[in-house]
Structure formats: structure tokens, C-alpha cells
Symmetry: C2
Subunit: 245 residues, 2 copies
């Protein structure tokens, strides 16, 4: 599904750059500005700085005069705004709405989804909100709802990308092979010997020391590598000359 | 569960301010800076500007020399970093990990959760990552993973707040009362009369006009208010003098 971010009358150049970067990290590239404060906003120094490497998003961005022009090809239009007090599209949390949108996608064959963001100072005009199918409200602290424009773009881009299936997360660390319970038991027997040797465990009165260590190591989900390390420690303890009490 | 955001060796003052704002909109207030580039970063102009109204977060923020000092009281520590290549904590998507953390909360009685963010240029040092229980990786486009520091804080703060139950979203628009099928049928009968009157509908050859309108209005989920509007239109059509073909 094609996705477009539309910034209406944005006044801070830095926000345009940061919005481009926020979109691009989530794999979105279609940015349209409706009558921004600066006609040259896409080439301003602050814009380019805050865009970091997302220059292609800026280069492909379009500037138009009216919201109508920006909405070409978009069949589902989401406002990010408080709903007008009289009437307007229903208000949803982004995450719940996106799950619905994706679930209905097969039936509706939406051509494109647009996210609209109003100006930093005044938000969206009611007449622009009336054009929309949904109002998205990012759930913020009722005592401090002042979300930065680019932060709002980031949160919606993230949630929408996740709803669309998301990108994979990969670990650079090779998967450690988890030790089985027999290996843990063998290591613990080794430790029991060693702790007895150095005089920490009294075989006549072992208390619950070994079961306690067993529980600790169970919670730690030891890898085979770590079993070797712990056996190495036990081996070294056994080589030591115990302290005489 | 107490939540702390820890920025390690942050170099851009603007990011500190933006991070404070990103935390506060999600209801988090505990910010600790580990050896930031600027000793006076909490009072710099750019910091205060980008913090917008989150000055209380800045005022309560602490600056410490070492990560150890920052971790006091924290029992679950999350790195935001690539995992080291040799070994390290397991890597998770934030959303999945947070769901697990919250599910285990009753059993574990975690005292506090800390989120660690490395410097803008170098990320986190391996020795700091080794201190952590988990590496969180925000799923970004594999071709452009350059997430701004404050944006990363925003995304994690949002996801973590949502996992903790979230804030309520409220609509300013009063809930419209949905018309029932009988009211829709009555309105359609009114329209059928009116469309016949103005000569748009031929009773001798009605085709599927009325069922088509019925389907259109079903999809629109009409409110009672809208039934009144549509009946008003029909009434006015019936008052008109039909155009003679």
C-alpha cells in the first residue's frame, strides 16, 4: 500500500529534515509539503542537517499549494489532530487503527494511505480535518501532550511499518547453544567438589547451598560456553591450596 | 515500575532537550546523563528550546561520571545498540520484549527499568552493553537505519508506555448516534419519491438505482443527524418544479 506523509504549513525547516529522516528509517519516501513557510525549505541548511542521510526523500519531495493537490492517489486519509468539537472523523489510537486498516486491506483495496500533519503552532484547520477518514491521536500524557512534529512522524511511521509487517531485527551475536540440565548437573557436581575442597561447603552440613546454586544457574539459562567457564573455575579451585581455618 | 532514561556521552545539546520532551509526553521524568560532552548541557539554549515545555525533566536530570552511578536502583537494563559481535545480551524488538517484561512483572518484581542510549557518533561501548539484560533494536529499514537519538527515545518511550497500559485517547467530538436500518429505509423511500419527482428515477425502469444507494449509505454508517440532512434534501427536491425533458 502506497504511503504518503503530508506536512501542512510547516514553519520550522529542522522539522522538515527530521521528518524526512524519520520516514526513511521506516522505509517511507513520499513526502509532500503544502504551502510551507519557506519556499526553499527543501534546500535550507537546517533541513539538510536534520535530514542526516535522508537527502533522497528531500530531493523527491513535492511542494504544492493546496491539500487537494497533495491528496492525489490517496484513498485513506488520516489527520493527526484533535477532532473538531462539532463533528468530524472518528478518533483512533494509531496502533489499533492500523491493525484494522491492514485487516481490511484485502476487501477495500486501498490505493494509498496519507498521514496529514498540521503546522507547529496551530495544528490542522478544521476544514482540512473534514477531508479525512480518521483522526489519529498518539496517546500522550494528558498533563503534557506537546509532541514534536518530527517525533509524531517518527511514531506513526514506526507503528505503520510495524502494522505492515515490519523490518526484521537481527542480532550480530551468534546464537549461543543452551546447556541442557545434564550439563548443568555435571557442572554443579564439579563445583560441589571444588567448594568442599576450598572449605566453603561442609559436606557434614551442606545446608541448601547446592540447590540454591542450581536455582541461580537455572534462571541464568547457561550456555555450553559458560558451562566450560564454570568448570574451569571449579578445576582451578581444586588445584588450589585450601586456606586453613 | 520505575523507568529511567540514561544518555551516555551525548554530544548534541538539542538531542538532550528533545529527549526530555519525548520522555515527558509519554509520562516519564527520570533522565540521567553520563559524562555528556557539555558539562552545562542542561542549561544550554538549544537544550531548553528543543525541550519545549519539558523543563522539569531537565531540572530534575542528574549528571554523573560513570554508568555505575546511573544504574542505582535499576534491576532491568536495556541497551539500545547492536549487540557486540562476540557475545552479549540477547537482541529483541522493543514491542515484543516489553510485552514479556510486563507479563513477567508479577513474578520478578523488577525495581526499575533503565534504557541506555550511546553517543550520537559511536553508539554504546561494548563494556557498557555487557552490563545489560537485553539489547533493544528498533526495526528500521535495513538500507537506512540511521535513527536520530531523540527519535529513538521517542519510539521506546511510546512503546514502553503502551506496554504499561498507555494513556487514554479521547475524542472531542460527541459520539454520533448511528441510524438504524429502518431509519435508512425510510430515508431511501423519501429519496425514491424525490428522485422520481425530479425525473432522475423512472419507476417503469428503476434499474438497480435504489439498491445501489442503499449499499452506498450502508457503507457510510449514517448518523441520525445525517438522516435528517438527507431527508431535508429529498423534501426540497419534492418542492421543486421538475425540469421538462
Amino acid at each position: 500500500m502506497h504511503t504518503r506523509f503530508i506536512l501542512i504549513q510547516t514553519s520550522h525547516a529542522g522539522n522538515v529534515g527530521a521528518a524526512a529522516r524519520a520516514m526513511k528509517v521506516m522505509g517511507f519516501t513520499d513526502l509532500v509539503l503544502v504551502s510551507p513557510r519557506w519556499a526553499n525549505v527543501l534546500r535550507r541548511e537546517e533541513t539538510i542537517q536534520r535530514a542526516s542521510g535522508a537527502l533522497d526523500v528531500l530531493n523527491n519531495a513535492r511542494i504544492v499549494d493546496t491539500l487537494d493537490e497533495a491528496l492525489e492517489g490517496m484513498s485513506h486519509v488520516c489527520a493527526t489532530a484533535m477532532t473538531p468539537r462539532d463533528f468530524g472523523p472518528p478518533t483512533f489510537e494509531p496502533r489499533a487503527h492500523f491493525a484494522n486498516l491492514v485487516a481490511q486491506q484485502d476487501n477495500n483495496a486501498q490505493q494509498g494511505v496519507a498521514f496529514l500533519f498540521g503546522s507547529e503552532r496551530f495544528g490542522m484547520r478544521n476544514e482540512d480535518v473534514y477531508r479525512c477518514h480518521a483522526c489519529l491521536s498518539i496517546p500522550t500524557d494528558p498533563k503534557f501532550g506537546s509532541l514534536n512534529l518530527a517525533s509524531a512522524v517518527q511514531v506513526l511511521a514506526y507503528d505503520w511499518r510495524q502494522a505492515l509487517g515490519g523490518f526484521a531485527v537481527q542480532s550480530a551475536t551468534p546464537q549461543a547453544s543452551v546447556a541442557d540440565a545434564q550439563q548443568v548437573a555435571g557442572m554443579l557436581a564439579h563445583w560441589e567438589q571444588a567448594l568442599t575442597h576450598i572449605g566453603f561447603l561442609d559436606p557434614e552440613s551442606p545446608k541448601k547451598l547446592m540447590p540454591r546454586l542450581n536455582q541461580l544457574f537455572n534462571r541464568a539459562h547457561l550456555s555450553e560456553e559458560e558451562i566450560h567457564i564454570l568448570r574451569g573455575v571449579a578445576k582451578q579451585m581444586l588445584l588450589s591450596d585450601p586456606h586453613k581455618r
